[in-house]
Amino acid sequence: MTRVLHRFKGGVHLPDHKAESNGRPIHAAPVPRQLVIPLRQHIGNPARPVVEVGQQVLKGQIIAEADGYISAAVHASSSGTVTAIGPALVPHVSGLPDDCITIETDGRDAWIDHAPIDYQALAPADLRMRLRDMGLAGLGGAVFPSAVKLDPGAHACPTLIVNGGECEPWITCDDLLMRTRADEILQGVRVMRHLLGSTEILVGIEDNKPEAIAAMQAAAAGFDFAVEVIAVPTIYPAGGAKQMIETLTGRQVPSGKLSTDIGIQVFNVGTAYALARAVFHGEPLISRLVTVTGHVLRPQNFEVLIGTPMQRLIDLAGDRDGATGVLMGGPMMGMPMPSSEVPVVKATNCILVKSDALFPPLPAMLPCIRCTRCADVCPAELQPQELFRFAKAGDFGRAQEYHLFDCIECGCCSYVCPSHIPLVDYYRYAKSEIWAREREKRAADLARARHEFRLFRLEREKKEKAEKLAAKAQAKRAELAAEAAAPGATGEADAKKALIAAALARAQAKKAEVAPKNIDQLPPDKQREIEEIEARRAKIRELARQPLETDETKP
């Protein structure tokens, strides 16, 4: 069974540094004394806490439930007591705190009652809800809620790609997972296949992982559906979803579309494994494999409870002097952590400890010489040098025209740039600026709409009031006229009365229109300013009144 593989454009060959950590077996990291479990571990709405401080929780118990469709639940990774719910340091490059649930573990590691899910008996929508409540999210790094991705929606998904590319240097957790748990990965695929109705299952693995390929092939032979395990050439970023799709099928996901639009869905092997644990063992996503490597004594993979502080793992792997920081993820797309005490989350595939020897500080940046090496290696086939030019100049509109948002932030361009320009940083900066501006614009639009509505409301209220008064005055006049007509004698005096009443009504109406003065405590210059504003307002009011009022309009 040979398959014609396609070569995506661009990419770079990197020293892979996999041998450091893939030689040791997987160890289960012990339960730490304290677990800090962030509520925002997936893309979408953060989970909503359903426990209280002081409450006892069991391993696998839901501590925060999914909030909306694109969300996922969060579970206690071990048994113990909830000691805090609130902001704590999370593994995010900003170093900003975010809402977390802190659990003091009791060491019993006692499970909550759990049972396998009879996935074939459940309606697909119900099954997906169960998976959402199991906290499943993509473990390849993007942590998109899996339940959403398992909904084929309007599109059929004939092709299911299981991504074992793991193209980033240093990371080996997927490699180890495939070597040791190939069977369960494919069990997970069985459920995916059931939900998506896929007929073609492709497993793409970079050819620098021969053991994993062999293990997956061996496991695939024992399944009652066809699974094609394919070795793909090792070139970064072959493990990117879009690149894997092109390599295996020769098709490109149209810009701005999803892979499901062309009938393909991609899952990471780790996600498939977690799905199998959830469905066949009833275990929610409370642990994952994490590679701890770089500047440590014994680089290796651990099975880690979500919420374990990274430093515990670094200690287990052998802390060394001279560490210069911790990355979550690989050296190409990983993010520096604000502290090594931040917890492991669902997205943590690798903890890479830096040192000056392994990761020397980058040389000084020079201007772009437009050599277009970046464009040659860009797998999104962009023109990074132009994007850089626009991002640097703050011309975000042009950057967007040049497809900034098609950039997958793979870092190939920065890697080859002879001027050592941190290109990806510029793109991230530009993207987040654009998002911020869109947010600001939305806020401004909202404020404008609300302000306009308020003006409209005030106008309407005034109109209603004036109408009411006018009607009253009219009634009064009619009454007086009737009175005058009846007795006849007091006519003149009553007519006068009526006139006075009408004048009073006018005065009242006028008073009603005077705007509330909230400006008594203002300094004189502000006061003057506001008076000017009032004058303007009066003019506008005048204009608004004209068609409606007749007897009150004075020049």
Binding site: S255, G334, R370, A380, E401, S414, R428
Partner: protein
């Protein structure tokens, strides 16, 4: 700051160093064919460029060392020097280099910002201002028969030798000869019988062109330059010259003759490939190179100067933003067919 935390080992210095290395065969051929005078020119241009660059960096408030060690100023100096007549007077060399570095490079914003190829700006300014000096080329040693020593050459360049010495060795270049010959209503075939012409190009000159070609191929093999610009440039020259030659072989030089002028090879592989002032898109590179090639022939044939590479490249430099904008390539997953970079 974030990612990536690893980089390739390439650097601007390395890129520029390779360009210099790739020029060595050309320089060697130059010495062998025309005597060691070029070495004096190169040294003088290099010193001027480095001093000017350092002074400009200082004046503009940039750190001197990282920018000076990028070697880009030396590349500019060498390219200019190789375009100058090898026994050109020292002030010509200094003026041209200064103009290239100070005006064309730094006043346009420095490395990476210059719209025009600095070496070609320097050359063009000299050609316009000092046409006589700029066309006094020493003939190939094989023809003049008077090999000058390094000291003699230096003496000529620094004005310490009587003018007669220079006059004894200078002679019209093949392109000049062709041009004047045509002006005198001779046919190409008649002109080509003169000793200055060699197998396909000018005697000696064709070997120089070959040496530049060899250096250029090294750059291509190292992926320092893309194949697009040189190939398109050479194709432009060859097709334009061939077209004219086809219609009137008596009035227009043969395409091979034009191709094997040293300036064309130098232009195709070293000058038009200057990334800063060239086009960046794949299609744009082809258009840029081809345009420069065709313009070279047009200027050679109808322009006021014997050679047109410099002006052709400068003219195409102007068009680069436009070319780039209209040749933005299709992106991954983009709509088929070319898209414009801008919606308007």
């Amino acid at each position: 700051m974030p990612a990536p935390f690893v980089i390739d080992h390439s650097s601007v210095t390395q890129v520029m160093a390779w360009v210099l290395v790739a020029l060595l065969p050309g320089i060697a051929a130059h010495v062998w064919l025309f005597g060691p005078g070029i070495l004096v020119t190169l040294a003088l241009a290099t010193v001027t460029a480095v001093v000017a660059e350092a002074a400009m960096l200082k004046a503009r408030g940039y750190p001197v060392r990282p920018f000076l060690t990028d070697l880009s100023a030396i590349v500019t100096a060498w390219l200019l020097a190789l375009c100058l007549p090898s026994l050109a007077p020292w002030w010509l060399i200094v003026t041209g280099t200064l103009f290239a570095i100070v005006v064309a490079k730094h006043l346009y914003g420095g490395l990476g910002q210059n719209v025009f190829n600095p070496a070609m700006v320097g050359y063009a300014v000299l050609l316009i201002s000092f046409p006589v000096q700029m066309t006094s080329w020493p003939g190939p040693l094989a023809l003049t028969g008077t090999p000058l020593s390094l000291a003699d050459s230096a003496a000529i360049i620094f004005g310490g030798a009587p003018k007669a010495v220079l006059d004894a060795v200078t002679m019209a270049t093949p392109l000049d000869t062709l041009r004047t010959g045509l002006l005198q209503q001779h046919t190409v075939d008649e002109i080509m019988t003169q000793p200055i012409f060699g197998h396909v190009g000018g005697a000696g000159f064709e070997w120089l062109a070959g040496a530049f070609l060899a250096g250029g191929l090294v750059l291509w093999a190292l992926r320092i330059i893309s194949w697009r610009v040189p190939l398109a440039f050479l194709a432009g020259v060859w097709l334009a010259a061939g077209f004219l030659h086809f219609f009137d072989a008596g009035r227009y030089g043969a395409p091979w003759f034009h191709l094997f002028a040293p300036s064309v090879m130098l232009g195709a592989f070293f000058i038009a490939t200057d990334p800063v002032s060239g086009s960046t898109t794949p299609l744009g590179k082809l258009i840029f190179g081809f345009g420069a090639g065709v313009l070279t022939i047009i200027i050679r044939t109808w322009g006021g100067y014997p050679d047109g590479v410099a002006f052709a490249v400068l003219l195409m430099n102007v068009a680069v933003p436009l070319i780039d904008q209209y040749t933005q390539p299709r992106i991954y997953g983009g709509a088929p067919g070319r898209e414009k970079g801008s919606s308007r």
